[in-house]
């Protein structure tokens, strides 16, 4: 075995020197480099996004409790060198003169917030600015709703329990105001030290205590692990999954884009390695037969090649990872402005994954044909006509299966991974059939073209199986390029387009039924676009089918908190544009009078609700029961008014109803708000511009990151093309030399080659354009949920880039051969 290893290293070194391994080594290095660069980049972008998302918690981790947070949790935070802050929140009545208002009071300690920032203004609708620090003792910050409801302004005094507070600023933004935008009472923020004096917190008071924590990633991870086993009743850990659905949707989509980039690079790397590995194997068949003839045992030969392949994949893998790491660091600059905190270094996962992919792809695609050599009679050294064991794709079966598993793993999402694997298999099969058909059609054209083209066509038609393989290899490379340039641009534009500049940035809630017509008139008088009003009824889910539900029934924290609070129910007649039925059906006119629900898919999954289930809500003290008729997918990051639960029109009319709408307010027309609130004093205007800005930032950064990451994927695509051209060289060398021997001029041969490569390229371009269009559609429609637009450029670019690119590159690759005497080429092959 030792001897085999030594000999194998020696042979490897000799082959490297002879240039034999260049294509395979290059394919491996670029493949691993692109996978690891994409991996590192994705890792960092995800970390950055995580940080961004953590702002929504105001921390990296939260412990929420219904009693004061245990001392040991705070102590351990110090030991783990985590920063911490505390908040205490409860609902209480505020008094100002003769007015009173229920408010959500939040008392905070010094370091609050640990992530994100507070922003305040000096007056209603005045300019806002970020602020460090918290309200001084004896003062409080109130949000605009509270000021409006109590008719007070900064400088005035309000009463909370036994204490008086001076309003010192208008609270515009707090990072961790999570959950449902519309179900919370107005906010009062004060200093934690002032709470005891209010005497509001007594035994039995409903109070939420939070311990906010932030710090190094691994410190947080260790702390989380330690704490999760020690949580007592009424205590829970909270993470970003409780963030707003809009931001969560944007984050999810961002991850999918990046994951897609990574997956495409894995796929391309695999194709490049497979192509190069096939050539490697074919060129080593004779060597294997000769080794056996010279007395090498089968196991010895197996060892030699396994060691060679492992060594090659390891060396190329390490080089590739190093290049990948170096390349990704440019991305850090790109993300620099995205997060205030310093990014932790990326994990080692991309290195492992890069090495593994290289190894699996190389072994999967190169080893089976080499190992199958025991089926080649040694007699092949005497009779070359004896067949080779490589027949069809079956030899590569193991390679494909392992590779598919790798893709699913990389996707991190079984559904996405399987989509891609199945899509790839189906695409390859379909494209193979198309390529076969095109090759057959080509035969018909032979009689009608000149000698060069006839030679080109004949070459393609003579080896249809080989030609189809080559068209597929070129096609996949080109498809990737098309997908990465044109389709990617379309998809990104679609995403950015999903949140246009004039997307609604203000919501109005609490509109009373009798105000509807005057509100419409107000908007018309102000010269603003007409608004759409949706009825809204608040209810709490109490029974699912015949079983009473309580937060304790759910392990999932998000599910538990959804049960705990009141939902906004609406009744809508026509399915909104940005909603899509995923199961069941939307109501028909004859459903009026029936109590039916349409439930948002995400919440249905969280709570385990299916079509046909019976839901009972407690609305204003009465039970309202109905059947789930459909589940819907909602485009949360469209920022339009959307509801988790919609009921049939009219079914909710017996219950107290208010209305909600959204509209876009430009920065220049802020004064409209003052008039709006004066005309309709009871309504509440909610400003979502800050969240939108956050989502936009995510989109912009991720777009940049995706563009960057795709550069590597592009490189992987080019490697496929290079490997494919290399792989075709051997076959053509012999033909060209033979033609020259027969007296063909250099020119004639070049024309013939050019004709052949251009034809191959055009066919591959057709195949690639078809694949890229279909894939683009599938991705837009089913994976990223973005509108798909047909792009004719994909076809034009595919065909012309294929014809010109493959034509020139393929011919150039063979030009050097023409400079040498033909015998040399004949001897080589």
């Amino acid at each position: 075995m030792m001897q085999a290893a030594l000999l194998s290293f020696r042979l490897l070194r000799r082959e490297w020197r002879a240039g034999e391994l260049r294509a395979l080594g290059l394919a491996l290095v670029i493949a691993v480099a692109s996978i690891s660069a994409v991996g590192f980049a994705t890792d960092r972008v995800e970390l950055a996004l995580q940080y961004q998302a953590n702002e929504l918690l105001g921390a990296d981790l939260l412990i929420v409790s219904d009693h004061p947070v245990d001392h040991q949790f705070r102590q351990l935070a110090d030991e783990y060198k985590l920063r911490s802050a505390e908040t205490t929140s409860f609902v209480s009545m505020l008094l100002a003169g003769d007015k009173n208002q229920l408010a959500e009071v939040k008392a905070v300690s010094e370091a609050y917030p640990l992530r994100g920032e507070l922003r305040v203004a000096e007056e209603l609708f005045g300019p806002e600015a970020p602020v460090t620090g918290i309200p001084a003792p004896g003062t409080a910050w109130a949000d605009s709703r509270l000021l409006t409801q109590l008719a007070v302004k900064p400088g005035d005094t309000i009463k909370l329990g036994e204490s008086q507070f001076k309003i010192s600023a208008l609270l515009v933004h707090e990072p961790d105001r999570g959950g449902d935008l519309f179900s919370i009472a107005p906010r009062l923020l004060l200093n934690l030290r002032d709470v005891p004096a209010t005497k509001l917190i007594q035994t039995g008071s409903r109070v939420r205590y939070r311990l906010l924590l932030s710090g190094e990633i691994d410190g947080i991870a260790r702390y989380r692990e330690w704490v999760s086993s020690r949580l007592g009743p009424g205590e829970k850990l909270e993470g970003v999954s409780d963030a707003r659905p809009e931001v969560r949707a944007a984050l999810e989509r961002a991850k999918r884009f990046l994951g897609l980039a990574a997956l495409v690079s894995v796929l391309l790397a695999g194709a490049a390695i497979a192509t190069a590995a096939r050539r490697f194997s074919l060129r080593h068949l004779d060597a294997c037969a000769l080794l056996r003839c010279l007395g090498a045992r089968q196991s010895f030969i197996t060892w030699i090649y396994l060691t060679q392949l492992l060594t090659l994949s390891l060396v190329a893998g390490i080089v590739g990872c190093a290049i990948g790491y170096a390349a990704h660091s440019a991305l850090t600059d790109l993300l620099g402005g995205m997060v205030a905190a310093q990014l932790p270094p990326p994990s080692w996962r991309p290195v492992g994954f890069g090495l593994l992919t290289g190894m699996v792809a190389l072994l999967g695609f190169a080893a089976p044909p080499l190992l199958a050599l025991k089926n080649v009679p040694t007699l092949r050294v005497l009779r070359r006509e004896i067949g080779l064991p490589i027949r069809g794709a079956s030899v590569y079966g193991i390679g494909w299966v392992v590779f598919a598993a790798l893709m699913v793993w990389q996707a991190g999402d079984v559904k996405l991974g399987l989509y891609l694997v199945l899509g790839t298999v189906a695409t390859l099969a379909f494209l193979g059939a198309v390529a076969w058909l095109l090759v057959r059609l080509l035969g018909q054209l032979r009689e009608r073209v000149g000698v060069a083209w006839r030679f080109g066509f004949a070459s393609i038609a003579r080896r249809p199986a080989n030609s189809v393989t080559q068209i597929l290899a070129f096609g996949i490379g080109l498809m990737a390029l098309l997908l990465l340039t044109l389709v990617r641009a379309d998809l990104l534009a679609g995403w950015q387009g999903s949140l246009p500049q004039d997307a609604p940035n203000r919501f109005i809630i609490n509109i009373q039924p009798e105000q509807l017509s005057s509100l419409h008139r107000f908007f018309a008088d102000e010269g603003m676009p007409a608004i759409q009003l949706y009825p809204m009824v608040r209810g709490r889910l109490v029974r699912l089918n015949d079983k009473a539900v309580s937060p304790n029934d759910y392990q999932d924290q998000r599910a538990a908190s959804l049960i705990e609070r009141e939902f906004n129910l609406s009744s809508i007649e026509i399915l909104p544009d940005d909603n899509q039925i995923t199961s069941g059906r939307w109501w028909r006119p004859d459903d009026s009078g029936k109590n039916l629900y349409s439930v948002e898919q995400g919440i249905a999954e969280t709570l385990g609700i299916k079509v046909g289930d019976r839901l009972t809500y407690l609305i204003a003290g009465e039970e309202f029961s109905g059947k789930v008729a459909s589940l819907r997918k909602v485009d949360w990051d469209s920022f339009r008014v959307n509801f988790f639960v919609i009921a049939t029109p009219g079914s909710l009319s017996p219950y107290p109803t208010s209305y909600i709408t959204s509209f876009y307010l430009s920065a220049e027309r802020q004064e409209v708000l003052t008039r709006l609130v004066k005309t309709f004093p009871n309504i509440t205007v909610i400003d979502v511009a800050a969240i939108m800005a956050q989502v936009r930032t995510i989109i912009e950064r991720v777009t940049l990151a995706v563009e960057y990451v795709f550069v590597f994927t592009l490189l992987a695509g080019l490697t496929v093309l290079y490997a494919a051209i290399q792989a075709t060289q051997d076959e053509r060398l012999h033909d060209s030399a033979m033609l020259r021997t027969l007296g063909a001029s250099r020119r004639q041969i070049i024309s013939g080659l050019l004709a052949e490569f251009i034809t191959l390229g055009v066919l591959a371009g057709l195949v690639a354009a078809l694949a890229a269009s279909v894939l683009g559609y599938v991705l837009a429609e089913y994976v990223l949920h973005l509108p798909y637009t047909f792009n004719a450029w994909v076809w034009l670019m595919g065909i012309s880039a294929g014809g010109i690119g493959v034509g020139i590159a393929g011919t150039l690759g063979l030009l050097s051969v023409l400079r040498h005497p033909p015998l040399l080429s004949l001897r080589e092959t």
């Binding site: 030594l6 056996r292 010279l294 007395g295 090498a296 009679p377 040694t378 050294v381 005497l382």
Partner: protein, 219 residues
């Protein structure tokens, strides 16, 4: 080496095709034997069977007292590595190895890696290729390539040498030189030579000639 009732049949489109039938022969140590015959007479098949590169339909081959086909493929490979050398019509040099490395290969395979370089250099000097040690096969002429192949065959000092049309791809001058080298080295090393050729002149140089016609030994 001895064969008894050696035969080979293959399935053809019109039923079984007899390629070799009832071959009985004996080759003594140090003998030089030429197997001659027209194209398709079964020469190369016989050589393949004698060398254990292929398996017979009937009969057996005994080499150095051992039944070749009682061994498995690996056993035969081991025996080949220990006892035999080959010279092929198409040279069969590995394109990625230099002349020196090609000659070193059988020695390395036999676990004689330490002495390989020196021994290979010596044999290459013997075939007048000292100036071509680091050339790749494609940088060598056909005659030179076959000399490298001869050096490779003789480097491990085999007891038995098989040569399959060694001059088939060469011009007359190169061919003669190769033949001289082959017989000289054979004599020097005292090895047994089994040579397949259709070239009568070449066959004349062997002490014994066996003629194949339609798969049967006729002389």
């Amino acid at each position: 080496m001895q064969t008894e009732g050696l035969g080979k049949q293959v399935a053809g489109p019109e039923g079984m095709l007899v390629i070799l039938e009832d071959i009985n022969l004996q080759v003594a140590e140090g003998e030089a034997v030429a197997i001659v015959g027209a194209s398709g007479s079964g020469k190369t098949t016989l050589l393949g069977l004698l060398a254990g590169l292929d398996t017979p339909t009937t009969g057996r081959v005994t080499l150095n007292g051992r039944d070749l086909f009682a061994l498995d493929e690996d056993g035969r490979a081991e025996l080949r590595g220990r006892l035999t050398g080959f010279v092929f019509q198409t040279f069969q040099l590995l394109p990625s190895l230099t002349a020196l490395e090609n000659v070193m290969l059988p020695l390395e395979l036999a676990g004689r890696g330490r002495e390989a370089r020196e021994a290979a250099g010596e044999v290459l000097a013997r075939v007048d290729l000292s100036h071509r040690l680091h050339h790749y096969p494609k940088q060598l002429s056909g005659g030179e390539q076959q000399r490298v192949a001869i050096a490779r065959a003789f480097a491990p000092r085999p007891k038995l040498l098989f040569a399959d049309e060694p001059t088939g791809n060469l011009d007359q001058a190169s061919g003669e030189r190769i033949i001289n080298l082959l017989f000289d080295l054979n004599r020097e090393q005292g090895s047994t030579l089994i040579l397949v050729t259709h070239d009568e002149a070449l066959a004349q140089r062997c002490r014994r000639r066996l003629k194949l016609e339609a798969g049967r030994l006729v002389a």
